[in-house]
């Protein structure tokens, strides 16, 4: 047997030993109950690397690591597909010891309201909202429509005269429905994909109205796009001239939070520890700067109020879905 082979066998043997007796944590064998976290924390993200949910999770993980807020690192696990349900199911099935958590947002409410799957917010333990972002409603800059009032007047005078780029059952659709109901107008729909597709439809004059996230809008603005209204609860620094729906007197607010979730009945200590760490992260200058640069809103909401707010939004969404006859 060569030297290399024998080394390999020893290593394999050690691994086998661990596999047979996974509790054998040599450093803490004397303690009755090790302090959370005892191993790296897996943060599941239901999207490909690179989007907002993924980037924020990675920034948090980096901040936590660099400032030694936890004794173990956070590892981002990307599990894209099925509108993030794949990742959600993994966390729902995990041990509720705090070592498997989920970073998601209010798409969870939409899929539930639409009846796409059965995953419900109350299947989870809510750890809290780590900031969030809101979208804007836009038209072409040369459309002659200079304010939401212009748009509402035009649509009231000529109902269904403007085409709205949406995907059925997506945020653009449900926000449009809410605003239309509040202001009493009607548009026609043209089915569309993601942000870039809505932009192509808008600029190519195949659509007249499109919704973009605030950060998308900042990027697209130079192409000749104009925002008429912001769906957030209050104006944000990067869009000082865009009025909010609330200011204009319409009940249509959408503040999509970065929601941190764990499996149901999660260990209380672990949940409290994670919440406090996340709160610390979003209070840091780095994170606040990043949020501002992306036209996102940096704030923290504790687990329970976050769940309450979400359930209220869910009820509202269910009403819309029923009225529009969208669900199953």
């Amino acid at each position: 047997m060569t030297f290399f082979k024998s080394k390999l066998l020893i290593a394999a043997g050690a691994l086998m030993g661990l596999a047979i007796n996974p509790g054998a944590d040599l450093s803490k064998s004397g303690q009755a109950r090790a302090e959370f976290p005892t191993k790296p924390i897996k943060v599941y993200v239901g999207f490909k690397p690179g989007g907002r949910t993924d980037t924020v999770a990675r920034l948090v993980a980096k901040y936590v690591q660099e400032n030694n807020l936890l004794s173990q690192p956070m590892i981002i696990v990307n599990k894209p597909g099925a509108a993030a349900a794949n990742a959600a199911r993994d966390v729902l099935g995990a041990k509720p010891d705090g070592h498997s958590i989920l970073h998601w947002h209010h798409q969870l409410l939409i899929t539930n309201a639409m009846g796409v799957n059965k995953i419900h917010p109350q299947d989870f333990t809510s750890l809290g909202f780590l900031g969030g972002g809101s979208p804007v409603w836009t038209v072409r800059a040369d459309s002659g429509l200079n304010s939401l009032a212009d748009l509402v007047n035009k649509l009231k005078a000529e109902p269904e005269s403007l085409l709205e780029a949406i995907g059925i059952g997506t945020i653009p659709h449900l926000m449009g429905v809410q605003l239309a109901a509040a202001a009493g107008f009607k548009t026609r729909y043209i089915g569309s994909g993601g942000g870039a597709d809505r932009l192509a439809k808008l600029l190519g004059k195949n659509a007249d109205i499109a919704l973009f996230s605030a950060s998308e809008y900042l990027r697209f603005k130079p192409q000749g796009v104009k925002a008429l209204v912001f769906f957030g609860p209050n104006r944000i620094a990067s869009l000082p001239d865009v009025p909010t729906t609330t200011e204009l007197g319409y009940d249509a607010v959408w503040a999509n939070p970065n929601w941190w979730l764990g499996p149901k009945n999660m260990d209380k200590e672990a949940a409290a520890k994670l919440s406090s760490v996340l709160k610390q992260a979003i209070s840091s200058k780095e994170m606040i700067d990043y949020f501002n640069s992306k036209a996102l809103d940096p704030y923290w909401t504790d687990g329970e109020p976050a769940m309450e707010q979400s359930l209220k939004v869910l009820d509202k969404l269910k009403v819309i879905v029923k009225e529009q006859n969208l669900g199953k």
């Binding site: 690179g50 599990k79 597909g81 349900a85 794949n86 043209i190 089915g191 932009l199 190519g204 192409q223």
Partner: protein, 496 residues
Amino acid sequence: MEHLLNSFSLLLQPLPLALLFIGVASGIIIGAIPGLTATMLITLTLPLTFFMESVNAITMLVGMYVGGISGGLIAATLLRMPGTPASIMTTFDGYPLSQQGHSARALGLGITASFIGGLISWAFLAVLSPPLANLALTFGPWEYFTLVLMALVMLASLSQGSMIKALMAAALGMMVHLPGVDPSLGQMRLTFNLDNLEGGLSLLPVLIGAFAVSQIFKDIIVIDREPPPVHLDRKGMVLSLADIKKYAGNFFRSSCIGTWVGLLPGIGANIAAMLSYTTAKNVSKEPEKFGTGHEHGIVAAETANNAAVGGALIPLITMGIPGSVVDAILIGALIMHNLEPGPLLFTTNPEIAYGVITAYLIGNIIMFGIMMFSVVHIARMLYIPRAYLLATILLFCIIGVFAVANRFFDVWIMLLFGVIGFIMERTKMPLGPFVIGFVLSPIAEMQLRSGLMATDGSLLPLFTRPFAATFFAISVLSLLWPLFIEWKNKNRAGRH
């Protein structure tokens, strides 16, 4: 112009250049080995590019595309085994010329022709793309739907063998896309209550299965077959100026044919080479020499198949419609990198659109350098034992597919489509239409239903919008043309 220059300075940095070099070199090697294709290499590399900057990733993949199509000529010339399907026509004259003791000359002709074809089609790519993208911006759902329809039908009617089988393969590909979220209603369909099917069948498991795994199954059967040894030196490989002059007309004609065929949605390098070869033979004063080691034959085939690569990139970056099967996979790559391929690519992500154009030019130059200097060494790669090669590739398939979504379900899907791909090949159902159908049917469905949503269910725009009507008419004609030819032939046979 400014963007183009920017793009050059971006790509001429050490890292992108190194990646481009790796891409071209690996493309040439994989393209050279019969049984391994550029398509397979690019699908397998996709998961690896996941963690790279988008520009670097796309640059490397374009390099592989250029290298893969070019590398195929080595085995085609030396062994009469096309390294990739695109070099089938090269075997007709390359191999005889090589057998007459002029291997170096045959390879030199092929390599230079590939290079010139690449350069000329690059000029078309760089000049035509920006205005075409502007035109495409005015395209609405009906134009896109008919474009995709045209791609599917043309691919089916122009691919070799039975058109019915090709259409069946396309339909099968379209069916594979169906499970998952209905894009118009936002509801699940055909998921049979399986959680794993809610995201639909993802691109990579299906593609890697159909292309790489099925190819491995196919190669295992003939694993003992070893190519005969060949002797090769480099003397006579470099073409003289007189040679270039002599073939100037052929270079230009074949480049135009190649670019044009590449530009047409769906069909790519292999059909370009065939068409160009046939044309060269038809216009030649000595057509009887074709197939006996005639230099014009090598030039026509190799110029066109490389020019097709550049041509096929045009619809890819201007409309998000693939010009060939490899481009369908490149679209997948763009989507994986959160880029939406379409007419706005030039405005929202100019670095990508111009990056593709620049990478294509630099890739061709690198390809020429590598091939001219090391073709002798690359030829030795043909003798790597298959057993090691196939085992390694299968391992890469599994790792790659698993890594994308951290899900073992995808590995089973990959193996399933490996078997399906293998059965399709055995029953002579072409894989090209299958892949194009799978990649394009989401676009077709989305656009058609989106158009219907806007017109309240009326199909009238298919006939009233000029571009849509033209594309629709071409689709119908491509479908009917082969039937008409068959009918005519039968009639003629009947009269005799």
